[in-house]
Subunit: 232 residues, 2 copies
């Protein structure tokens, strides 16, 4: 272990970066959790995270930590909130810069690290108990995700590149926790002209095959610059 030490005139809290990683499947919204192997909260589920290193920005730390702890490389993420309650960690004051992230598929490669026993996707609705103040962080992320879903095209970050309108609608219904009229939903989303129909269809189990669509991020950027505001 490194014996280097760092001395300051005034005490400094440690800085952690924690991340709420959401994934989606027809069963519902999932969150990536790690089971801690060490105290405090050994055996408890917590959000992936770790300490910010010297010279790192929050975004850089996040990228490193997601790779280390979950093998996740490319991912949509943004800063959520900074949790500063001095008692949020029983050891000492640790400030957590929390992020939330959205993955298109839940095939993570959970890397068991020094302090991690296990990684699992858990259904959000299962309301599993979490260590530290991570339940509060998760709730904040859920609120933010629901709000964001309506005003920004982030839903597509939770779906594979090609998806059906039914899948998209189901995602909205799950996260916003209300049912949506099928015809009105399709009308509205297609009227935005942000979805390109692929020349493929897909059939999932029984029923009529569904048209696959792709979100046109380039067109969205272009329209945004022209004052367009996504709303669903």
């Amino acid at each position: 272990m490194c014996a280097a030490s760092h001395t300051y005139q005034f005490p400094r809290p440690a800085i952690a970066v924690d991340c709420v990683v959401f994934g989606y499947s027809p069963e519902g919204l999932h969150v990536l959790l790690l089971k801690r192997g060490v105290e405090p909260f050994a055996g408890k589920w917590v959000l992936p995270g770790g300490f910010l290193h010297q010279g790192e920005s929050g975004d850089e730390a996040l990228k490193r930590l997601l790779l280390e702890k979950a093998g996740i490389q490319k991912i949509w993420a943004e800063q959520l909130y900074t949790f500063t309650n001095p008692a949020r960690d029983p050891r000492e004051q640790i400030i957590s810069i929390a992020y939330f992230a959205l993955v298109k598929s839940m095939d993570i490669e959970p890397v068991a690290g020094r302090d991690t026993v296990e990684a699992q996707w858990k259904l959000v609705q299962s309301r599993i108990a979490l260590g530290f103040d991570h339940a509060e962080i998760l709730q904040t992320a859920l609120d933010r995700l629901a709000a964001k879903l309506r005003w920004q095209p982030v839903g597509f970050e939770l779906l594979p590149p090609k998806f059906t309108l039914s899948e998209l609608q189901h995602l909205y219904e799950t996260i916003l926790r209300k049912s949506i009229d099928k015809r009105n939903f399709r009308k509205k989303i297609l009227a935005m002209n942000l979805l390109d129909a692929c020349d493929e269809q897909v059939t999932a189990g029984s029923g009529r095959p569904a048209q696959l669509y792709r979100f046109n991020a380039k067109k969205y950027k272009e329209l945004s610059r022209q004052g367009f505001h996504f709303e669903l």
Copy 2:
């Protein structure tokens, strides 16, 4: 000077709390700025702020700093964003947990501290140059304020307890930077039933005296619980 020292195994960035304090007058939206008396950025205008103390939450540090630096006691404030660019302070890595705050009147008592020469309310539209990355923080706060104004009743935090509808409309026009139809604005805001008419009128210069109103925060909370969403 205190000679106590604090030693940690790993290096730790310092934590600052900075605040964008907005004030409003008919001339426009103002921001409270301090002129620095010490390096770095001596002579430059910066946002009020300071270091987070051990054992303090961000909210507590904010409260202390606003009192110390500007004599501000009761104030609406919320966390804005955490700025983590390692180069944002030329001395060393200092993470800034930024807040933004709204005051009802701009009669601050600017306290000249150790590192502060002067405090002034500056018109936001004057686009004054700021030290550190504070221009970025200010822009983030402006964007947030404009967004928030439409979906939450925060405009009232920038007005005295009693205000006229014209004042309120002018505030909205200033911050959203677009003109609003007088009749439609009044219709919409009054239809929400969140404004109580005072039994006073006020006359500012020439012209017909205007009815004074008061924002009913209690009613807003009540309606919010019932699923009401403010929108203007």
